[in-house]
Subunit: 363 residues, 2 copies
């Protein structure tokens, strides 16, 4: 499998030139503003990509889940931050084992009973590093007094230590247009920064404020209170991120589309071409569908678990069985989570095949 | 991991009692009507489940894709039928290798150039067994003269042999109400059976007519022209199949829900409980969302890739961090395709953990 045309379909492809440009742009943007760069590994779940990000200056990698972080740790990644609370005795035991093995690992908490359980399980070693997860619409505890109260509980316990605040606003990432996005993230990050000041006034250390996304990095990186950013999708981009809008009101073009799915035409009923990519080849959580590359005016329609239907009625293009069609996916993270490997392409040459080693690791 | 409460979440669970009842019901229904039972493996992608089906009397297993069939073959499953055309020189070479290794394997075709390529690659061994895929709205060639023409081409070539017709109508499976479903499948299967007669009139053997689904099996199994059925979802069921309607106009209850996803509450912002199952834990290709078990009146809402939101505002139930919530998934096949393993449960006991060995094998 040396060339694009040799890759069995459906398959996930990464344009390395675009991918490397995306990483360079984000890393240099954050470095110039003196912000830590801890990109989110939930997007790629791939140790080789995590390593590329570390080599570009990342101080660590976020993981959505403990099992995802365990995979990154096995592959030598350090500076791990697990961004979902670790709940239940078994997971807490695994989390502590991970922290003993990789001491700079951090975990988020938003519940005092969970904090108590972690503290209780962590006796006899270095304190477990915690961030308080702040609520901006999904998980977390309310900024201000509720978070300060939880900080005091953490500070009162011997086997946990507060490192700072997890201040991630998932909805801000996709707020449109551009300025409304800025207003939303600036408003919510200000609540986090005020909470940090309240905690510090109580004499409790709280050095980190981490958050931000591919959608909000321009704002968060100018915010003096943010210490680090955790964007994920910028490495790949997708149709969803394109639609959030840029500063000029047009498409969001800060980063390049580097991720595609390649399919093959397997049947050509009159007026249509059926490709071998359906619900198992693309995530379906967005209202729009994969966009075929190099087929202007041709729309993709879902045709079940295994197939997609290209409507050729409005196109001068013809497609025959065996032709290949490549698509930009609607939403990168859950699309990547469907594949076991990603083909790293230099032009039409397969430079490497990287296992998506943490695929399915949501536990 | 011995009990339900030990399973790290999110996880896929199979209620073995319901699963075994479903298999018994379908197998005995088809046996009583003298129909072959070749259930579709795309639903489960799990060699252990394929083996259970064979043990219950299945004559083989369908696979949506070559790589899925290769996994079943490695695990000793025979009677394989690959229900998507195998296109391109590399896949054809793999298909022939599979047929040489497992001689009763069958492949579908709908394109004469593809037939020619298979024939050309298959010299020097037993002829490759083919079914003509008939078009009822997705893939395939039109029944009647176009299919007969393709049958003649196959019959004229030395290294391929026509075994029959793949007569699968994916849309019929979900046509509502019940009688419209019957009308649709009866109408389309009649076209297949007439095509078989036309092919046989030309002196070409065409012994198999295979098709049918969990939605249409009651009709297809009464159809004297159908030789075998290939239902898939009946082993698990899901919310989608429930909605197609039964003969009484109520929910479709021919089979039991045996498949669930178990999650944990990881955060409890006011009015809500956030569980650790989102786009990576459930397929999202249906307009409705996972249904929580034992939480009447509580609706699940998507909260991104990693989370779901339970609205507790209209419920007297309270949930705390660490509580577990189990769901019936909207659509079984693409949900199963998100997981590496399935926990086979006898009541609350984990009787086995079965690898979903063909997960992601869509190539």
């Amino acid at each position: 499998m040396q060339f694009r045309s040799d890759i069995p379909t459906p398959a996930l492809l990464l344009d390395l030139d675009a991918f490397e440009d995306n990483i360079k742009k984000m890393a240099s943007h954050l470095k110039a503003r003196n912000k830590g760069f801890r990109p989110h590994g939930k997007t790629h779940k791939c140790p080789e990509i995590a390593t590329e990000l570390i080599n570009a200056g990342a101080i660590g990698i976020c993981a959505a889940r403990l099992s995802e972080a365990e995979v990154f740790a096995e592959h030598g990644i350090r500076g791990l931050l697990i961004t979902t609370a670790v709940v239940g005795a078994d997971k807490i035991a695994r989390a502590i084992a991970l922290a003993r093995n990789v001491p700079d690992t951090m975990f988020v908490v938003d519940d005092e009973h969970n904090v108590g359980a972690i503290n209780g399980a962590a006796a006899g070693g270095e304190p477990i590093k915690l961030l308080i997860d702040l609520y901006f619409g999904r998980t977390g505890i309310e900024p201000g007094p509720p978070a300060v109260r939880l900080a005091k509980i953490i500070s009162s316990l011997p086997n946990v230590v507060l490192e700072g605040l997890q201040s991630y606003d998932g909805q801000a990432a996709h707020t449109t247009p551009f300025q409304a996005r800025g207003d939303r993230t600036n408003g919510n990050m200000a609540k986090a920064i005020a909470t940090k000041a309240m905690i510090e006034q109580d004499g409790i250390g709280c050095r980190i404020v981490t958050g931000g996304s591919t959608g909000t990095y321009r704002f968060d990186s100018e915010n003096s209170g943010m210490t680090e950013l955790q964007p994920g999708s910028f490495i790949f981009m997708d149709l969803d991120y394109e639609q959030i809008g840029g500063p000029d009101g047009d498409r969001y073009r800060d980063f390049k589309n580097s991720l595609t799915v390649i399919t093959t035409v397997v049947s050509t009923p009159p007026g249509f071409a059926i490709v071998d990519g359906g619900y198992k080849a693309f995530s379906t959580d967005r209202p729009f569908t994969p966009r075929p590359i190099d087929l202007p005016g041709v729309a993709y329609g879902w045709a079940g678990d295994e197939h997609g239907r290209l409507d050729l009625s409005t196109s001068s293009k013809t497609l025959k069985v065996g032709d290949r069609v490549e698509f930009i996916p609607p939403h990168c993270d859950p699309t990547v989570n469907l594949y076991d490997q990603i083909h790293a392409m230099r032009g039409d040459r397969v430079e490497a095949v990287w296992p998506i080693a943490a695929r399915g690791k949501s536990q």
